[in-house]
């Protein structure tokens, strides 16, 4: 089977550029924010922020993460998972009204931000198991 030279050049160019972007371009840029934020966020029917942060830490431990840092006042936890690959994740917990908390997670897989819905769904499923609370999608 013969490939036209054009296709080969295109593929080689893709290889060279496909996974890279100019080093400064991404400093103040992210993915499509609205959609990504909805994947990354869940509202929970509890106002107990400390309990939520402790449950997030327990879930991260269940998933094989080590907590790199945690700040109760800001409501943030950052953890790293090493399993032949590296996942770094920040989870933030904020009050949403008086009776709800909004939990948002954002994660990196090796050097790329995770922008698919599924890994975040899996994370919230694991968190929900730990919480015994019914989560519902954040608006």
């Amino acid at each position: 089977m013969k490939y036209p030279i054009g296709i080969s050049i295109a593929i080689v160019l893709l290889v060279l550029t496909g996974c890279s972007t100019p080093p400064t371009k991404k400093i103040m840029a992210g993915a499509d924010q609205v959609e990504l934020r909805s994947y990354q966020s869940r509202g929970f029917d509890t106002a107990d922020k400390t309990m939520m942060l402790r449950t997030v830490i327990a879930t991260l431990q269940d998933l094989g993460f080590i907590v790199d840092q945690a700040d109760e006042e800001l409501g943030v936890v950052t953890g790293t998972k090493l399993a032949g690959y590296q996942v770094r994740m920040t989870v933030s917990v904020r009050a949403q009204g008086e009776r709800q908390l909004l939990v948002r997670s954002s994660a990196y897989f090796n050097l790329s931000p995770i922008e698919d819905a599924l890994p975040y769904q899996d994370f919230f499923t694991s968190l929900e198991k730990a919480l015994f609370l019914t989560a519902h999608d954040a608006g």
Binding site: Y3, C19, I66, K81, Q86, V87, L118
Partner: protein, 173 residues
């Protein structure tokens, strides 16, 4: 030409490694893992458990990277040698017979995270859980392995030391 295309495709796929589907799923072993990594102590004094852990970690040469006493967690790390005699002999033989030089694992960074929590069904006790990770790098500073350490004996050793430091008994979770 075909081989160039194949090589290019392989590179393309390798460059953008996909997230393993189980990266954020609880593993089937998660309950057993949790038990192996946790011990129950008959105290509600989380500060005592954290402070005793700090002293054990200091004895073992770790440096604290992060602490949050109100959330009951701390993370510490240390660097130790990762040199492995078999690997070095292998490299010496490789160099002797082929003239090529390879890289041996040189250092490993060990990270320990400890979290103290109340026990849901026992108001007089607390549970401490640790998780340990290893990051191995070679003699040119390249990371060669990143894993979680799962040897139960290492966890047991830590909890034995913690129990002594806190003058408490460490019980299975």
């Amino acid at each position: 030409m075909k081989s160039i295309v194949t090589v290019a495709l392989v590179l393309l796929l390798a460059g953008c490694v996909a997230i393993p589907p189980d990266a954020f799923k609880l593993p089937p072993s998660s309950l057993a893992d949790r038990q192996m990594q946790s011990r129950v102590f008959a105290t509600t004094d989380h500060t005592l458990l954290l402070a005793s852990s700090v002293s054990v970690l200091q004895d073992l040469g770790y440096v604290l990277d992060a602490t949050n006493s109100r959330l009951g967690m701390l993370t510490a790390s240390k660097e130790i040698s990762a040199q492995n005699a078999t690997q070095i002999i292998g490299l010496v033989l490789l160099a002797a017979f082929t003239g090529q030089s390879g890289s041996a694992d040189e250092k490993q960074k060990i990270r320990i995270c400890l979290v103290v929590n109340r026990l849901p069904n026992d108001s007089a006790a607390s549970v401490a859980r640790i998780t340990i990770q290893r990051i191995v790098s070679n003699d040119v500073g390249m990371v060669t392995a990143v894993t979680q350490i799962t040897e139960p004996a290492l966890y047991q050793t830590f909890f034995d030391k913690l129990a002594k430091a806190a003058f408490l008994e460490a019980n299975a979770a």
